[in-house]
């Protein structure tokens, strides 16, 4: 740490931080954001293979076959969670929901809501696929 030029406060050190709902949700917001960025790169790869022509596209799909379902499911959950937590952040920015009781309430709400939304989106996408 000798090279640090300023004495500004550091973010909590994850290894020595006691886990509680508030901190876990905050860390998850960052992790899901990171995962979504990677998901976006995946989408770019998909478009890239599409641009390369039919063969490249089909070999791309072949390559990701098997784990793509799990990946997409996880991606949808990350999106749902990041969106819910994002709304919570926007409410905080407007000055709402800072009481400790509210923080825990909304925290559990977004956890449950994120799984519900994931189920909904995945279910709809499969129903759509099943239709002619």
């Amino acid at each position: 740490m000798g090279n640090r030029s300023s004495k500004r406060p550091l973010s909590p050190h994850l290894q020595i931080y006691k886990f509680q709902l508030t901190s876990v949700l905050s860390i998850l917001h960052r992790l899901t954001g990171l995962a979504l960025s990677l998901g976006f790169l995946f989408f770019m790869g998909w478009i890239g293979s599409l641009a390369q022509g039919k063969e490249a596209y089909e070999s791309f799909l072949q390559g990701v076959q098997g784990w793509v379902q799990i990946l997409l499911g996880g991606w949808v959950w990350a999106l749902s969670y990041h969106t819910c937590q994002g709304v919570r952040h926007l409410l905080w920015d407007m000055g709402w929901g800072y009481e400790l009781k509210r923080v825990h309430q909304t925290g559990w709400i977004i956890v449950i809501l994120s799984f519900c939304l994931t189920g909904l989106v995945v279910w709809f996408s499969f129903v759509k696929e099943a239709l002619p």
Partner: protein, 114 residues
């Protein structure tokens, strides 16, 4: 002193932009998740016509998503990389990567038939 002032202005601007892009992206989430889940598994011809039919949407949303992701990743890097030189390398890499992705997307659209 001037640099500190600049950092403060940037911090406020950053805060506003992160929220602004978040609000813009909010109504899009459902559509994006749903179309992504269904479109990625389509056969070649159908996928091709989907992308060509949605070029404008894909470009605009990609731009906003790029920006939102960039701002978020920048904060993570700033929080966990304490050495300024290494941090600069990562941040510059992030910026260059974003620009490269933008050109990549343009190239793809060009390849797909403008």
């Amino acid at each position: 002193m001037k640099r500190r002032e600049g950092q403060r202005v940037w911090a406020v601007r950053y805060w506003m932009l992160q929220r602004l892009t978040a609000v813009v992206l909010l109504p899009l989430m459902g559509w994006m998740a749903w179309s992504f889940l269904t479109v990625v598994r389509l056969p070649y011809e159908a996928a091709l016509s989907w992308v060509i039919g949605h070029r404008l949407e894909i470009s605009l949303w990609s731009l906003v998503i790029f920006f939102h992701a960039y701002l978020g990743l920048q904060v993570i890097l700033e929080d966990y990389i304490h050495q300024e030189r290494i941090r600069w390398v990562f941040l510059t890499g992030l910026r260059l990567g974003g620009v490269a992705l933008g050109f990549f997307l343009l190239y793809c659209f060009f390849q797909l038939g403008g």
